[in-house]
Each structure stands twice: as structure tokens, then as C-alpha cells.
Subunit: 253 residues, 3 copies
């Protein structure tokens, strides 16, 4: 046995993998003493995803030696979708080139998922001149994105010291969602006194936010025409971060 | 500002507009001191719709001068569909050729919807020799229409002093739904002692009834081969009426 | 009136007919003093269905003389799908060549369904050398079938004295669901000490199980490469049995 890892909610793991699967067909996971990590850039090269699940998140974490495993995310997701609400997830690897996936509950179901060649380029996460940091509820962000989508495939993130504004412009119409510190959807807003306005693709944001519950907290950082950093926690200790390239448009308002 | 009108449930307004959108791509609304009115005949010229929302239905009703505004119903409906259950709806018009639509709740979202040219022919509602008046629950009427649809695209409305019958005839089959005053779905039945039987298109009735809850009361009036008047209330003070042309068929039973 | 039969839950009858409709376009029902019976083999000749609804299941059972009636199951099902949760079902036949179907509840709706020619070959149910008998919850069986479906269109039923195993093999993957007497999904397991392993088509099992609730009990009997007998009760007195031919494959593990 090279590793045996147990996570107490197969359903919660499914929602994590469902998000990754929006961006990647396959993924390489680093399994080591510290936990499980994954970092990759999507084929369109717009989104960098960085996942870190420290070993303390797992109810059992037994890893003999560091290992990189790669597999088809769609197939893994289909297996996870069979999980019932109280099923435990077991990930196991022995000598064979399989990931054994166990859904343990009222029945015990075991899948053998074939591993594929792991190709792992080194990816650096750049540090960027973000001038805005905000903590928002996923529900508020989802609704702002949904409203923007009615008129455009781009959404502007804008901020002043008092408010966070999401704006989209269509040919003959316009949508604007405004959050202030009085609104339940905005939990924190830090703003350096410079112009903060960047546009991002609506579809990328939809894919990232889909698996979040309305009450989940999301940390966003942006500035003037620079990438958006969007981050949320997995049970206080794990982290999923997305770095999304901005859309730079001509003749913008 | 030429008007600012506030309705306390954006969701309820959505359901009204959803019904209109089944019949019209665009609509002209008369906004005046008394309230908001709309009257139009659908492109197939089978259904006349008459909507009247008196100013007392609104939590704020500030109108400077009478005005006719027209816009794309599909686009307006998409905006309203973003409303959450407790969102308030604001309709606002200033000097520009836009309707500003606000969904105010946990977030405040504002849409600018372009206005289009208002073309408003005068439409008279004819008075007809109706011999039956009945008050039915929308749920009972919906189910009668659904049953009829199994065998035909026409449904007969028939009445005797004791019962209201909905009948449809297929090639080799037949469906009949009967309501008497003992059934919870029939609240009132008035019948003048003459033959009452008319056929109407099932699809029109489906479109009209879709947005109603099963417990909503619907007033119907019909007679012998004449249009059906179908009416329901909006919060006791507003009214939506439909006048539906009958189908006159050969060799009917 | 040749018969009038009343069943107190139209919805429950619908779920029975929905299962039959997966296998047959039309069906012949024997209506006699004992009750209603149907026995038929599906067009692919893989599944034999045997239905027996004794007269005690019905709240009214008035049959003048034995009769075989046949009709289109799809049409009958569409009618039953209109039933509301507390509707009573009435099946009535008079002199005409119609089955009158009544859904009686808040409204009374009556359908006339045309009867077709009844063609009734005599079908014998073979007695087979089953070596395993198990009682399982439909939910556990459904999930085992769903898991198998991820990798194959065949599922192996296997048993040892201690456990019931459902296995499927794909090109490069494998799924295995195991039930022991400690699992809530396995209520009883009898096993004669011989090899018990047979493969069946996943799609047939899905069609059979679809209408069952997770908590419904299902009796299964199988052995080595022989048909599966799958049976469940209708209110303790009625029975629906399926005999499913095995898939005999080359080079199986």
C-alpha cells in the first residue's frame, strides 16, 4: 500500500472535484506527507488553479512516500456522484497502476480507476499589485455574475472605499450590482486609494462559483487591469485559489 | 424623474409578466395617475388581454405625467427572473429612453432596459351574451385542461345548472372532467337555462393558467359558441382578464 | 356492466403500469373472479413478467364473467399520470369496446380508452436450479446497478455464504458493491454451497427497479449462469415477478 487516505464526506469531495473538472480533463495530484496539492493552468490559459488540502483535513492520512498521481477527472467525478450524503470516501493506492476509490456507507462500493502518466510542469504563482481586497458571500457574487450575464460575457469589478460594484454593459442596456458594508453579502472591503477596475470573463466566474453554497465566504483581490485572485477555504484548513486573467478592452467606459 | 413606482414583491410581478410574455413579444403599458394598464390582442388574434394594476397595489407610486412606455417583454422577464423571494421591485424612468429596473434586497441590482416605440391602437372589449358564470380554483381548471390535452387540442366548456363539464374528444377516446358544487374546485356556478357549450384551444388555456397557484380563484364566463372570459385578481385590487375566441367546429357532438 | 374495479390509490397503480410499460407496448390482462393477472415475454425475449393482483387488493371488485382485455400501455399510463396523490382509480367495462378509467378525487375525471384485440399465448414459468436466495432493499440494489453502469452494461450477481457481491468490469476499470448481513440493505441471504455467479443486463434491471422506493423489499434468486428471478410484493398480497435471462460471456473472470 503506498497510500490510504480517508475523507469523511464523499459529497464534499465531489463538489471540489466538480469545480476542477470545469477547467481540466485530467489532473496531477501531489500526494505527500503534508497533504494533497494540485496546481495547473487551464487550456485557454486564462485560469490558474491552486489547490491545497493539508493532511489534517482527513480522518485517516497514511502516505508511505511522496507520489504524483494523475487520472481522468470526469471519470473520477462520475464515481463521486454516486456517493450518498453520509458516505465516507477512501482513496487507496497499492502496487498496481490504479486508484482505488471506496464509497463506504450503507453499502460498500469500490472502484478501480486507472492512473495515467503524470506530467507536472513547475508553475509559479505571481504576486500582483492588488489594490482591493474584499470578503464576499458566494451567493452575492453569484447573483452579480448572473445579472451581468444578461447583457454581456464580461463583468467589471470596481471598487471605491465605500462600495464594491459589479457592472456589465450590453449594446443598449446595462446592469450594475452594488454592495456596501451595510449589505449582508459584503463582509470586508479594503481599498488603496487608486483606481480599481478590471473586467473578467463571466463564464469562468460561473464555473468557479457553481459548487459554492450561498453562505460560503470568498476572498477576492483585484486592481486596475490585473488578474483577479479568488480564494475560498475547505473546512478552515484547505484552500482553493483561482487566478483569472483580466480582459483588456478598447474604448471602455 | 417622470415616474418611480415600487412593488413590494418582484417575484409576484415576474409571474404577471411571465403570463403576458406567452402572448406578446413587446407590450405597451399606460402609466398614469390611476395606475398601470395594458390591453392588447395576440398575433394569432385569438386572445385579448386586459391588465389593470391600480396605484393602490404599489408601495410607492409617484407619476409626474401620463406616459405610454413599451419594451421587450422577454428581456424584462429575464431581469425579473433574477429576483429573490424578498426582493422589492423598482420601476423608474427619467429623461432618458430607458426603463430602470431595480431589484432591491440583500444586494441592489439595477438594470437599464431600452424603451421602444409605443404603438397603441384603441381596443374595445365587447360585451357578450354570456349565460354561464363560474368561479373555479385554478388547480381544478389546470387539471381539466391537462386531461383534455391527452386526446385533443380543443376543450369543450359545458354547463348545466348543477355541473360544469370539461370535455375533449380524440379519434378513438374521450375525456370528461366534471365539477359540481360539492367539489372543492367549484366555488360558484350561475347558469341561465339555455344551452351552454363552447370549445377553446387547449394551448391558450395552458399559457394563461401556468403562472397561477392551484388555490387561486378564477372567474369564467361563457355560453354557446362565444368567447370565454377568464379573469383573476392581483391582490384583490388588480385584474387580469383574457377574452378567448371559441373554436367553431363541424359535426360536433 | 361486465366489471367495475376500484383501487384506492391511482398513484400506486401508475407505478405498477409504469414498470410494465418499460417492457411492453400493449398488454393483455386476465380479469376473473380471483383477480387481475398478466404474463408476457418482452420483445427482446430476455424478460418474462408475471403480475398477479388478487381481488382482495381492491376496495371494490365486481366482475360478472371472466374476460381478457388488452390496451395500449403508453396511453393508459398517460392517463394514470394525471392522478393526484389521493385520487381513487376506477376501471370499468360495459358493453362497448372501451375501458373506462376514472380518477376520482377533488375533481372526477373519466377517460374512455379503446380496447384492442387480446392475443394470449400460454406462457409457462420454468422452475430453475437457483442456489442463492436473498432479500435486499431496492435502494441498495439500485445503487449497485448504478455503480456497475459506470463501467459496463453487464452486472455480475455473485454470492458466498457471507456476502452478496455485484461486480462490473470495464476495459480498464472495475466496480464492486458488497453487501453483508451487517449492512442495512441485505435482509436475508441463503446460499447452497456451490458457485453462484451470473451476469445480467444493466438496462433491464434499471427498468425494473425504477418504480420501487429505496425501502421496498426485493427477493432475488440466482445461481450459476441461470436466469435471475426478481420479485416484489404489492401490498403484501399482490406479486410482480421478473425472470431475466443471463448473459453468458466468453473469457469471463
Amino acid at each position: 500500500m503506498t497510500f490510504e487516505i480517508v475523507f469523511d464526506s464523499a459529497r464534499e469531495f465531489e463538489s471540489l472535484i466538480a469545480t476542477l473538472e470545469k477547467f481540466f480533463d485530467e489532473a496531477v495530484f501531489q500526494v505527500n506527507m503534508e497533504g494533497i496539492q494540485m496546481r495547473a493552468i487551464d487550456p485557454s490559459r486564462v485560469v490558474l488553479v491552486d489547490l491545497n488540502l493539508p493532511e489534517m483535513l482527513f480522518s485517516k492520512y497514511s502516505v508511505e512516500s511522496e507520489e504524483a498521481i494523475a487520472f481522468d477527472l470526469k471519470r473520477f467525478l462520475k464515481v463521486l456522484k454516486l456517493a450518498r450524503s453520509r458516505d465516507t470516501l477512501v482513496l487507496r493506492k497499492g502496487g498496481e497502476n490504479f486508484l482505488e476509490v471506496g464509497l463506504l456507507g450503507d453499502e460498500n462500493t469500490w472502484f478501480k480507476l486507472p492512473l495515467i502518466d503524470a506530467n507536472t510542469p513547475e508553475i509559479e504563482i505571481p504576486s500582483l499589485p492588488w489594490t482591493v481586497k474584499a470578503v464576499v458571500l458566494a451567493g452575492a457574487l453569484k447573483r452579480a455574475v448572473k445579472a451581468a450575464k444578461l447583457v454581456s460575457d464580461s463583468i467589471y469589478f470596481m471598487a471605491t472605499p465605500e462600495k464594491l460594484t459589479f457592472k456589465a454593459e450590453g449594446n443598449d442596456s446595462e446592469v450594475r450590482t452594488v454592495l456596501t458594508m451595510e449589505d449582508p453579502g459584503l463582509l470586508d472591503l479594503e481599498h488603496k486609494m487608486t483606481k480599481a477596475k478590471s473586467a473578467y470573463g463571466v463564464a469562468y466566474l460561473e464555473d468557479i462559483l457553481r459548487s459554492l453554497a450561498d453562505a460560503d465566504e470568498v476572498i477576492i483581490r483585484f486592481g486596475f487591469d490585473i488578474p483577479l485572485l479568488l480564494k475560498y477555504m475547505v473546512r478552515d484548513a484547505g484552500e482553493v485559489s483561482f487566478l483569472i486573467a483580466p480582459r483588456v478592452e478598447e474604448g471602455r467606459s
